[in-house]
């Protein structure tokens, strides 16, 4: 019996140890997103990158819902890919834990070039204490969708928006309803912000923040903006919700889903707030290199490869085939990007006037308090001023910079 146990243990150890293979000449990428997108990246690499650099590229897709957990687990177990695409703020989060390569230090010249070519609005969100752990891979920006046949002129200011609402036109927040993503554009349009310029202290106790929160909550309580936006597409189709604030991802899917609306809808910039700004929320994915990678130089070459204008246009075309949209972070690419002119102009303008999540360590822990305060005001009718002061204190406590 003793012998038997011994053999069993040895066998088990053997089974586990032989599965670990060292593959030198392969770049592994985890891509947060669909299988199709991963395939597109792989195909492009096979076509242009591998012949030149002589290195295989493997791209695996990870679904958004499990991606953050998967990365953290992989970091803990040190079973990471060479490269990974990820949520906008994750690279800083993982980087601050020491799991990612700081790119500015490792590739100073190239990074200077890249910084110049990328939209300012998104770059601000990937930079943390002058360090960069991930480079923007794509962008997602909030815009206003409207039914041209029902609302000939989209609202240009908050006042115009309110007057439309008072005339019975309904408005839906399709991305970020009742949470900070939906609230942020209003905060910025009012001239407020979460933190001061250097990210050292929270400034939600400002007058601007109060104006923003009051306006935001009045949308729900006074003007019947629905709290959940599960089926807003059906409402947009029927004309019940002729105004929708949502991410740019609907641009290519709307025409496919509702061909009968062709020519009856368009997009517009978000309305101006009291400060005269039309700031919207911008998100997206970044791509970064993990410390455990044995091919850091090749990995960075691949990032540069993905930043090339002709490659980004090809990614755009491929992704458009599956009725999705890819917005390249590279400003120069936009001239030749095959989006309808009407949409391109608006998107370009809105991206320039957009802001990403604050690049402050501690923000990720703070969002739930922001959400809680917003919901307290909208759902329970709490006093906005007190709520903001409480929230401001909490945010200050959580700053870790």
């Amino acid at each position: 019996m003793k012998n038997f146990v011994k053999i069993l243990i040895i066998l088990t150890i053997f089974c586990f140890s032989c599965s670990k293979k060292e593959q030198k000449n392969v770049l592994t990428i985890w891509h947060v997103g669909s299988e199709e997108e991963a395939q597109i990246i792989k195909n492009l690499a096979d076509k242009y990158f591998t012949p030149q650099e002589g290195i295989q590229v493997v791209c695996e897709s990870v679904s958004w819902s499990e991606a953050h957990t998967k990365y953290l687990t992989a970091i803990a177990g040190e079973v990471l890919p060479d490269l990974g695409t990820m949520g906008l703020t994750w690279a800083t989060e993982f980087g601050s834990k020491g799991a990612m390569i700081e790119l500015k230090e490792s590739f100073p010249e190239d990074m200077e070039q890249i910084e110049k070519s990328v939209f300012r609005s998104i770059w601000d969100s990937v930079k943390w204490k002058n360090k960069v752990y991930g480079i923007p891979f794509d962008m997602t920006v909030q815009i206003l969708y409207y039914r041209k046949d029902l609302i000939p002129n989209p609202p240009q200011t908050w006042d115009e928006l309110v007057s439309l609402l008072e005339h019975g036109k309904k408005f839906v927040i399709g991305w970020g309803s009742l949470d900070w993503i939906g609230f942020s554009p209003f905060l910025w349009q009012a001239g407020g912000d979460y933190y001061d310029k250097n990210g050292t202290k929270a400034i939600l106790d400002s007058r601007e923040a109060l104006v923003a929160l009051k306006f935001f909550s009045s949308l729900y309580t006074k003007y019947n903006v629905p709290r959940s936006a599960e089926n807003f597409a059906a409402g947009f189709r029927s004309g019940e919700y002729p105004l929708v604030m949502c991410g740019n991802w609907l641009i290519n899917s709307f025409p496919a889903e509702m061909p009968e609306l062709e020519g009856k809808w368009s997009i517009a910039l978000l309305p101006k707030g009291p400060s005269g700004k039309r700031t919207s929320f911008i998100g997206g994915r970044v791509i970064g290199i993990f410390k455990t990678s044995k091919n850091v130089d090749k990995a960075f070459k691949f990032i540069k490869f993905l930043m090339k204008p002709e490659i980004q246009i090809e990614i755009y075309n491929e992704i458009a085939k599956s009725k999705n949209i890819y917005l390249p972070p590279n400003i120069d690419v936009w001239k030749n990007l095959p989006i309808q002119e009407e949409f391109k102009k608006i998107l370009f303008e809105q991206i320039k006037e957009a802001k990403g999540p604050p690049s402050v360590l501690g923000w990720d822990d703070s969002t739930k308090y922001v959400v809680e305060s917003i919901q307290n005001v909208v759902v329970l009718g709490s006093e906005p001023q007190q709520e903001l002061q409480k929230l401001n204190k909490k945010l200050n406590e959580l700053i870790k910079n």
């Binding site: 069993l8 900070w180 993503i181 959940s228 599960e230 409402g235």
Partner: protein
Amino acid sequence: MRKKRKFTKRTKWAYIFIAPSMIILTIFVFIPVIASFFLSFTEYDGISPPKIIGLKNYITIIFKDPLFWKAVKNTLFYVIFTVPLGIAVSLLVSLALYQRIKFSALFRTGFFLPTVTSIAAVSVVWRWIYAGDRYGFLNYVLTKLGVISVIQDWLMQPSTTLPAIIVMSIWGGVGYNSIILLSGLQSIPDSIFEAAKIDGVSSWEKFWYITLPMLKPVMLFLVIMSTINSFQVFEQVYIMTSSTEYFGGVLYSALTIVPYLYERAFKRFMLGYASALAYLLFVIIFVFTLIYMKISKFYEE
């Protein structure tokens, strides 16, 4: 006295046969259970090595964590409604199925379907059923029938979120519970019912004095199992109430213990804290099971 167990040729094969499952259990259950017990006394983010902090996690959870108590309150509310209502509904269904009505097999399949469907998939469907505008199925039906005049945002208002999830969970549990109860019913010997018939017992008395007592062991099993399962409710809550930016419903109105634990462990990566939460949940479930056992013993005597 028990005989001392020895390795013999015969038992050797028994051990060989249970070895694979024991190895798997050890790797995926026993070791993690023990490891998480130790982790519950540490601060551990999964990356830097765990730091021993004694009972601090437990103290913070019990005395300084309002979210934990919110989760406990919600979980108790959930258990108190889901378990008795769920079993009552299942009992009705199993009694109906026992009557050998027409298409009984069809009904049985229908009720059992949710059990074989992934609860995650079902939750996504129910999210749409409860969706908050007139395009939500429930709102559509209720307004058409004239039951409600104002459209409700079922999963976005604190007062209806948890009840909505309870209804869905009861529906999801009926299949399994009623099949178990049905087999309990079928195991009651016909001779007892025949004897009762001869004695002129009414059907209500038959149910109260014969069926129910005979079902007691099955019921106890179901009560314990569904209590444990209900305390651990996760998928429904997680899928139906979490957006990318918040979890557990508007103002945590449907936050229960396991989704909270999951959020701590795998979103915030507070593994020590989450382990302590898991052990507190274990204690709660353990106490409830003990109470059930005591109650059922009391009735037996």
